[in-house]
């Protein structure tokens, strides 16, 4: 059999294969380049960026949980201007599309960040984080209310010509309602899921472990919730989906693809295996060959039957 087609398209972003990185777990790109050739990824999604620099939350910012981690980084980032000055030149040297994850406290913030990045060039798309549970203002609220999610989406869409992927929170009663609202508002694609809201307590100090009390749960533990979210959203809206949440192996990635994701993002697994993305790309290709599937797009949503 010939080499199967691995290329996918996420709302206008052309990816040579369906594997990208989950924002916040892959820095701005160079951190993992000692272990993998970034140019072999389908796309790179970089750390959440805001209008102004953010210091982030107090430490500890991470705690391990059964098959998962809780994090409360708090969107530490140097601000959009710094990103444009220091990282965009690097992005321009890459042959893979770079998607910048953006956050804000207000709808205007989102729009301004989007506008600046749009003007900077060297970026293939924006991922709008309306779901980070780690910031006090905005963040969470936008993602849990369909109307506000739509408002942010529309604002970003009108501020930037770049493809806009909106990242949804699983911490809602009905994720399809948010997906539908965001689709209506003009999103080009959806990313799901962000982390689950969780916490851990130190029984010796009798205090919450994380400096900011609550944090976001990620890693293999959340995979069943994420696959379910992709399955539900695939049924509800027509937009391409980047699936994520606990993906560590090609088998995990294929579960998401079969549930309805056109691409997958690898997050926490990078910490465990810095070559996870590469192993997953190779494993997906192997599966396609072994099963005589010519194009990975044929598998997208295939678990729904006909």
């Amino acid at each position: 059999m010939n080499k199967p087609n691995l290329a996918v398209n996420i709302g206008g972003v052309d990816m040579q294969n369906p594997v990208t990185t989950a924002s916040g777990t892959f820095g701005f790109g160079p951190e993992y380049s000692r272990y993998i050739d970034i140019n072999e990824l389908g796309a790179v999604v970089v750390k959440g960026t805001t209008l102004h620099p953010r210091e982030g939350n107090a430490t500890p910012r991470i705690v391990e949980t059964p098959s998962g981690i809780l994090n409360s980084i708090g969107l530490q980032n140097p601000g959009v201007d710094y990103v444009i000055e220091h990282y965009v030149p690097y992005f321009k040297t890459l042959r893979v599309p770079v998607i910048v994850n953006i956050s804000g406290d207000t709808v205007e913030d989102y729009a301004k960040v989007a506008e600046k990045l749009d003007a900077a060039g060297g970026i293939a798309g924006l991922e709008v984080n309306i779901s980070c549970p780690n910031v006090k203002k905005g963040g969470m609220a936008f993602g849990s209310d369909p109307a506000m999610a739509a408002e942010v989406t529309a604002a970003v869409k009108s501020a930037a010509k770049l493809p806009v992927v909106v990242k949804l929170s699983p911490n809602v009663t009905d994720i399809t309602a948010v997906a539908e609202a965001v689709a209506e508002a003009g999103a080009d694609g959806l990313s799901l899921i962000n982390t689950l809201l969780g916490m851990a307590i130190d029984i010796n100090s009798r205090r919450p472990i994380l400096g900011s009390v609550m944090g976001g749960l990620s890693g293999p533990a959340v995979k069943p919730v994420a696959v379910r979210a992709v399955w539900q959203v695939y049924k509800a809206v027509q937009l391409p989906i980047i699936g994520m949440g606990g993906i560590s192996t090609a088998e995990d990635a294929l579960e998401f693809i079969l549930a309805g994701a056109s691409a997958v993002a690898v997050g926490t697994a990078n910490f465990v295996n810095p070559r996870a993305t590469m192993d997953i790309i190779a494993g997906i290709e192997r599966y396609l060959i072994d099963n005589g599937v010519k194009d990975v797009n044929e598998l997208v949503g295939a678990a729904h039957g006909n």
Partner: protein, 260 residues
Amino acid sequence: MSQLLKAKVTTHRQISSGYYLLEFSGAELAETARPGQFVHVKCSRTTDPLLRRPVSIHDVNKDRGTVRLLYRVAGRGTELLSVKEPGERLDVMGPLGNGFQLPDPGEKVAVVAGGIGVAPLFFLLRQVAAAGNDVKVFVGARSCRDLLAVDDIKGLGVEIQLATDDGSAGHRGPVTELLARGLKNIDRIYTCGPAAMMKAVAGLAREYNIPTQVSLEERMGCGVGACLACTCKIKTPGGSSYKRVCADGPVFNAQEVAWE
């Protein structure tokens, strides 16, 4: 250049109750590692416990192409590590982190270790002793059972003073009391140990205006600077900012650290 390897465990033994010395093969790692750097170790075969564990490079043997770790069983990860048999494979990433900046020729050096904090300092000591610098070593611990690598340090032919909280060996009391008396003519201090001890060392160092490097610990995710989990507060002209222990550290200038 940091590597990802499945290294073969060559020797592994308990050296004191709850403390282990593990040696593995890794020629390139042994060749390129600097004192103060660490490796990131996967302790389990499954997704629980999930994360790697940072462990300092205790020593390397370039001739035999081996790397040594000295560690304490602190929880589930290190417990799983402790049952690895010689011949088994160890999934390690490294070397990671910045490492210590070595002393200038002729500088008189004090090295202050608290408990398992001696782990990264032995590799440093060996290089500093080999470079011919004058070295005084201060090792403190809870009790004599927690005084580690003492014979190895003596083997380097350097002066060593011991302190224990319970007086079971050496001075009874904090190791910083010994340091305070031994600071004369010291040009440079290196320290690793409990935060309270390092803070006290930093205090003495400021008093005597001695450049001091501390090796910090923080819970880690990636170990390579990508996740921003392991930050510590570093003083800046304008106030403070969060630096990454894994990538900007683990070694920092003691006077820059915003001690709690």
